[in-house]
Each structure stands twice: as structure tokens, then as C-alpha cells.
Symmetry: C2
Subunit: 494 residues, 2 copies
């Protein structure tokens, strides 16, 4: 069984097979009977709950409230904002009927042809349209602004090639939709929320990210500006992990949302939207995990510590478990989530492998020698190191170890990421770096969509972002040699 | 404006108009552009979050974990469990296509006829089928049992006559789905969870409920037994507020979920399911509120205390607000959710009306005389009483007042409910009580579905439940005169 548990594909052989094995075997998620839709299993959902709760707290601390808008959007709404329809209204689940009936021929149920909707309903792929249609009724005056609303919801995009957490037909996310008096305020909100995402990625997930602007070509459909956080996975591919959009007055115009401003004149409302999804779970897995399984940051781990008795015979078992219960209570008193695995039908080697697979940050094993010596074996998941430590002061040691692990995971990912931002000057270097090393390539680009698409066509690399901290630097476009004023980050991506 | 705020229909004139006005004007919810779907506004959603968090804590305390299953269910799944299809697969949203395209004639977007699904997908009206299809992969042996899983999700039932929170096409809910080794264990789980719902309704919502079993006719489609909590609204109608179903082995048989039991034999798994929804918000509103607006129990109120300055001129304003900030900090230190309404463009009478409408349990108003005397005016929303109290010790007084209000709201609803359980012996009494007094009618029934339906046909009253605490009592059916062994509770209901 321990063999079977560890039977992941090797990360170095097939990263994508390793990833899929890991998601399934660690009990995070699996595919369902419905094409492209996943089941998020309890362990995966517990991780999502922790992520959601942390983000929700950050949203509320920045003045946002939650609300809930309909799952369905009338088809015609998508045609209102010209560029939005191009980007979003295509690969969608379409509801055409509202009733089933017994098959007259006795084969179960069939769609009732008489119950056809006058206008088809689209299962929301994102909610700008229905929300701005609603905001129209909420906003008359500048006194009604700002509206700072977030929604936690499921959305559906009919993806043809799916991958658990990273790209599924249905996924869970949050989408913030804010309405403002002025352009300036909306621009600031856009930046504030990408900052919240950066903090969450780095401080909670332990995943370093580059913050920047998308190019016009990579912008959200309907946005004037899209800001992004881009993370680097261990296979050298980038993962867009969260976006925040400055929508200008586009949706206000499309849904006729005007307000009386402080000068008593009518004006269109300024908008932002911003979202992260269960895709973040994919980022978390791919940034930290190894061939033994998940490596989870303590601030998000569903379980912090597992305690395992090592014993021969009933007597040793009973005394080890009794002592572990006392230690578990001390750990819980420090706010740690703790489990004693006292199953007596499973070998301890199997248990060790199982909790490594599940990425539990700390494992404590207590055997007869430890009982005599007042010690316990402490194993760290992130480094796979073990040491024998005194039981005395254990809770304090483990609690501070959590901070240490949280920091170490981030530092390791940061070192990897920083090692994988390569400055290149020539097209040869660009292609070779991409193929041999991967990661982000910092290069000059002439600023045209044409060049951007030519590079994508040639290499599958896209401009992940124009980093916020990009310095002014005269240079020559890596493909065309045309002049450029700053470097952008390219990468192949998920 | 205060006039407009209070412009609710009178509760005594038109209960349903009053209810709708209240939901909309208190900012809880409104209808959307999509027929039968509601928008839950921030104040309503904050209430739902408090309810969800309390329930979620109770589920976890009883050993349950959360997970997430697909929104869509293949149509054929509904035909698997014979009685389930009758009850659930009819008024559903049906997804038939997965792509839109630009209208060749240039009129926005149309459904792409080439993107027709081979098998239609149903937007989940409840998830027994997809979940039991999934459990099949999770369960081999008794060691895999029990599975104690809950899901928080949106569901869709295509209701023709909708009412905010009470009956909408889409609503939010939780659905627990558990799998057990033995009948006994599943029966106990069914009872445990209806007990959790009763505790939540009574201790958190302040709504007394009758716990009982549904008759065969009123059972959930596919259940062997349905337990229910039934609450009484102020118009004398009952509201089914939560149900817990013992599903026997029906879904395990339908989806072929067998396990190796302790005797090493194959057996079908035993199941329960249980759910409550945003309908509970409707119950909460209708159980407590009055012509001034909402009355919310402190344990669920999004806001506990509002503080309002009473002043003439800038100086009085500044000193009142400054003092209110100090008092607000003291209240927050007691864990109370507090807001100072320091708007200077709105009369205090308007503010009073607004927070009455929103059901904030306690209002504090501080004027110049109070400033001088070290007092403050404290108003209770539930009783609409006011008193002047010392600022000294205010936080402690308000904190303990929250418990008092919580208890008082429940006691008042309980007194009303107990006054409205009428024991009747004859059909005349039955009809007269129903029409003149309403509420629950405790009467003998001969146990046949035929009689149950005849009574419903004649009076619109249904059997809400066979109460758990119904005593053995020989009697005669109120309609047929046939023998009966215990009383059941009838009522008209939502």
C-alpha cells in the first residue's frame, strides 16, 4: 500500500502526469461523470476553505462586502459590450429548456419540447453583465458610490482541454465588481486589489509573483487595463494566478449606468473587476510539491501536525497513544490543527508515506525509546529532515517551526523563480533559453501586437506581463530589432 | 425620505405585500433580470454568511467535512432512482448546447447549432444522483465508511410562482450526503441532523419549530423517511424550514454502491441527505418582523448596535461623534458589531427609521443633554422601547442585553406558536379554526394518503408532520371518522 501511495509519476519525467497523480492520490480532486467538471474532495475543499477565508478577510479589511447574483445571464446581455462578447460569450453552457418529461416511449426522461425558453440563458462565465445590469438600479447619485462588492460563486467555461484545478469547465472563484465616481478611484482600486492578491500569494501560499500589466492583446475582454500576478511553476512554465481589471466606463455605457456627480451633471460610472479561482490550488501544488507528494504552507494546510505511535504490542500502543493525546492537546492549545493517527491495522511506514503525500507540514512519531527518554521524532515535510527533540517544550517548538516552514517554502520558491528570470538580448538566446531553461525571459519588445503574436506563433511563449517595476531602458526588440523602452516578461504558460 | 422608508404595506392588511416590501426595502434581496432568480444584496448576504458559518460549525462539530460536486448532472442519472425522477427531474434548467456564435445576420450572438451536447445536462435541483455516482468510486469496504460530507452550493428548480427567499428558481443551500454501514447508523444520522437544524432554528434564529416525520405522501422523492422542522409564521401559515432524509439503500442500489461488510459479504450502503437553504432567511423575517421593519436575533444580525449623534451645529456634532467613537470601541471590545452613523446630510429621524427597518437590535442616540449628564438613549428594536441609561457600564449592559433580546424574540415567537396549536375533534372545528385562526391544527387522521389528499383538496391544509413527541392516543379521523392512534399537525403552508 505504501508503494501504491507513492506511485506518483516522477516529477522530472512527466510533470503533467505527476501533477495529475498528485491531485488524485492526495485526495484533492478527481474528474466527475460530467465532461470537464471536477469533484473537489474534502481535503482539497478544506484547502480551498482556508484560502477563501483568508482572502475574504482581506477583502473585508479593504472595505468590500459580499453579495450574490444569478447563475444565469440572458444571452442578449453578452452582446451589449462589444469586446466582451468576443472574449466571453463563445464557449458557454447554454440553457434552452426548463422542463423534462417522461419519455412517451418509456425510456426515462426527455426534454419537454414545449418548455423552450424564449431567450436562452447562459451559465455565467463571469458576471460583469448581470451585475452591471443590476447596479443600474442601485446607482443614482455619487452618494451611492463607491459600490465595493464581491461574490463567491461557481462559473462555467466550456473548455475542451481540461486539467484538474487549472482548467475545468466549472470552477469556483470570487469576482469583485466595484463602481466608482472617478477614473482615478477605479484605477486605484484595480491596483489595490492586485496588491491584495500579491500579498495573499506570497504571504499565505508562499508563492512569489511578478505583478504587472497585461498587453492590450492579453487584456480581459472589455477592460481598459488588466493587471496580473504571474507565478512560476517548477517546470519553468508561468501561471497567471489572479487578475484585476480597470474597466473604464465600458460596462456602465453598455448597461446605461449613469449617476449625478458632485457638479450635478450626469456621468457614467467607473468600474473594476478582479478575481482568483480554484486555479490557485493548482499554483500552490505546482510551486512547492515534490516526488513524495504535496508540500503545503502551514498558513493554508488543513492539518498542521500528525502524531503517530510506534509500538509493538498492546501495551506500548496504549501508552504511546495516551502520551500523544496529551501532546496533541498542548499543540491544539497553540491553535494548531492536529490529528493522531492511531489506526492499528496500518503500518507506520504506510502512515508516513500517506502524510507526506498529503503535505502535512510536521509529523511526530513516538516510540518506546522516546517514551523512556522523554523525546519524540519530529519530521519536516518541506525538507524531509528528521530530528529527535525533547517532549518538553514541544508545542512551542512546533508552533514556531510553522513560521519557519512558511518562510522556507517561500524562500525556496523565490530562489527558483529568481534563478529563472533570464535577461536575453537576441532571438537565438530567447529561443535557446526557452527550450533549455524555461522560466521567465526578460526581453525587449517593440510594443506591437503583431510582434507579440509572431513570437507566440514561433515559440508558444506569450508576454506574461509588463512588470510594474520594469525600469526605463532603451533597447531593441528581441524579434524585430525595433526600438523598445523597457523589458517585458515572456514565458510559456498554463 | 423617512416616510418612504417606512412605506411598507401593513402586515395586517397584506402579509405577502408587507413581506416583499420588507425584503426589498431593508436591502436584503431583489428580483433580477432573470425570471425567478434573485440578487442577494450585501445586507441579506451578510445575514446568510452568519447563518452559514453557524451551521457549518455545527456540521463540523458533528464530524462532517465539506466537498464540492458538479453543477451539472447527466440527464440519464435522474432516471436511475424510480421515485426520484418523479419528484425532481421535471422543472429543471436543461443545458443543451455548449457554444454561442456570432449571428451570421449580425444580430449579436446565437446558439451554435453544431454545438449540441450528446446528452443534455441538468442544472442540479439536488445532488443525490451525481454524489452517489461519485461515492461508488470512494467506497469498497466498511473501512471507507461512514462518509460524512456536506456541500454548500447553488441549486435550480424552475418554479413558476416565485417569492424572494421562499421560492426562487435559483437558491443557495447546503446539502449533506452521508454513507453508512448499517441502517441503524443512517437512521441515527437522519435524527442527529434534524436535531442540529432544530437547535439552529431555536437557538440562533429564535424560531421555535416542531420536529416530526413527514407522511409518505410528503416525503422526499427517493426517501424511506423524511424528518422535518416546521416553523409557524405570523400569518398562521407553516414553513417547512429544514429536512433530513433517511434514504435507505435506494440510491446505493440505483448507482450500484456496494461494500464489503465486516462479515466479508457484499452489501449496499445506507444513505441520508439533509438540507436547509436561503429559505431560512424568509422564515427569520416572517417569524419576528413588524410594521417598522425587520427584527433580527442578535446571534445572526450583521450589525448589533448603531450609534447616532443628536446635535445642533458643528460643535455639538463633533463632541457627540467623538464620544460615540469611544463608546463604539468599548462595544467592539465585547465582540459586538457596531456602526456609527455620522452622516450629517440626513436627519436623525430618518436614521432611526432606517435602522428599525434593517432590524438592528440596539440603537444608541447621544445628544447634548446626554453629554452633560453622562447618559445615552438606548432603544431596543424588538420591543421598540427606549430608556436613558448611564454611559458608564454601557458596553456590559448592551452585551447582556443581546442575550436578553435573543431570548425575548424566541419567547415571543414560542408563545405565538403555542397559542396557535389548536386541538380539534370535528371537521367543522377543523375548517373553522383554519379559516378564523390559522396556525397548526392537531387532529386525528386515519393514516391514508387518500384522506390526506381529500383534506388538502378541501382546505389547502397539509399534514406538516407527525410530531416526534406525539403521544399514543386513540381517536377518530377528523374527516373520515376512521380510527387513529395519534394526532398529526395540519396547517396551510408556504
Amino acid at each position: 500500500m505504501a508503494k501504491e501511495l507513492k506511485d506518483l509519476a516522477n516529477r522530472e519525467d512527466s510533470y503533467s502526469q505527476w501533477y495529475n497523480d498528485l491531485v488524485v492520490k492526495a485526495g484533492l480532486a478527481e474528474y466527475s461523470a460530467v465532461r470537464g467538471c471536477m469533484v473537489i474532495k474534502p481535503y482539497g475543499y478544506a484547502l480551498w476553505e482556508n484560502m477563501r477565508d483568508a482572502l475574504d478577510g482581506m477583502f473585508k479589511a479593504t472595505g468590500h462586502e459580499n453579495a450574490y447574483f444569478p447563475l444565469f445571464i440572458p444571452k442578449s446581455f453578452f452582446s451589449r459590450e462589444a469586446s466582451h462578447v468576443e472574449g466571453f460569450a463563445k464557449e458557454c453552457a447554454v440553457v434552452t429548456h426548463y422542463r423534462l418529461m417522461n419519455d412517451p416511449e418509456g425510456n426515462g426522461v426527455v426534454v419537454d419540447p414545449d418548455a423552450r425558453l424564449e431567450e436562452e440563458l447562459i451559465v455565467r462565465p463571469t458576471s460583469e453583465t448581470i451585475i452591471w445590469n443590476t447596479y443600474k438600479g442601485w446607482i443614482q447619485s455619487y452618494r451611492d458610490l463607491p459600490i465595493l462588492v464581491n461574490q463567491w460563486a461557481n462559473v462555467v467555461r466550456w473548455e475542451m482541454r481540461t486539467r484538474l484545478f487549472l482548467r475545468t469547465a466549472e470552477f469556483l472563484w470570487q469576482e469583485g465588481h466595484t463602481a466608482h465616481e472617478t477614473r482615478q478611484e477605479a484605477v486605484e482600486e484595480t491596483a489595490r486589489m492586485i496588491g491584495v492578491y500579491r500579498d495573499f500569494a506570497e504571504k499565505w501560499m508562499g508563492v512569489p509573483v511578478v505583478v504587472g500589466h497585461k498587453t492590450a492583446n492579453e487584456r480581459f475582454a472589455g477592460a481598459e487595463d488588466t493587471m496580473t500576478i504571474e507565478a512560476l511553476m517548477q517546470d519553468g512554465k508561468a501561471l497567471q494566478s489572479g487578475t484585476s481589471h480597470f474597466l473604464g466606463q465600458n460596462f456602465a455605457r453598455a448597461f446605461d449606468v449613469q449617476f449625478t456627480n458632485r457638479e450635478n451633471a450626469l456621468d457614467y460610472v467607473w468600474a473594476t473587476s478582479w478575481g482568483v479561482s480554484t486555479r490557485l490550488i493548482g499554483a500552490l501544488i505546482m510551486a512547492h510539491s515534490d516526488n513524495n507528494g504535496l508540500v503545503l504552507p502551514p498558513k493554508l494546510a488543513p492539518l498542521h501536525v500528525v502524531l503517530i505511535p510506534i509500538y509493538k504490542g498492546d501495551e506500548e500502543y496504549a501508552s504511546a497513544v495516551a502520551r500523544l493525546r496529551e501532546l496533541a492537546d498542548e499543540l491544539r492549545a497553540r491553535g494548531l490543527k492536529v490529528k493522531i493517527d492511531d489506526r492499528d491495522n496500518v503500518r507506520s511506514g504506510f502512515k508516513f508515506a500517506e502524510y507526506e503525500l498529503k503535505g502535512v507540514p510536521v509529523r511526530l512519531a513516538l516510540g518506546p525509546r522516546d517514551m523512556a527518554a522523554g523525546t519524540i521524532e519530529l519530521a519536516r515535510r518541506d525538507t524531509l529532515t528528521k530530528e529527535v527533540v525533547p517532549q518538553e517544550g514541544l508545542a512551542e517548538r512546533v508552533a514556531s517551526l510553522m513560521d519557519e516552514i512558511q518562510a522556507a517554502i517561500f524562500e525556496r520558491a523565490l530562489a527558483y523563480r529568481d534563478d529563472h528570470i533570464t535577461r536575453v538580448e537576441t532571438w537565438d538566446e530567447f529561443v535557446r533559453t526557452l527550450d533549455e531553461k524555461g522560466g521567465f525571459i526578460s526581453a525587449h519588445w517593440d510594443g506591437t501586437t503583431e510582434t507579440e503574436l509572431a513570437i507566440k506563433e514561433a515559440t508558444k511563449a506569450t508576454i506574461r506581463c509588463i512588470p510594474l517595476d520594469a525600469e526605463d531602458e532603451e533597447g531593441r526588440c528581441v524579434l524585430t530589432g525595433n526600438p523598445s523602452k523597457r523589458r517585458v516578461l515572456f514565458a510559456r504558460s498554463y
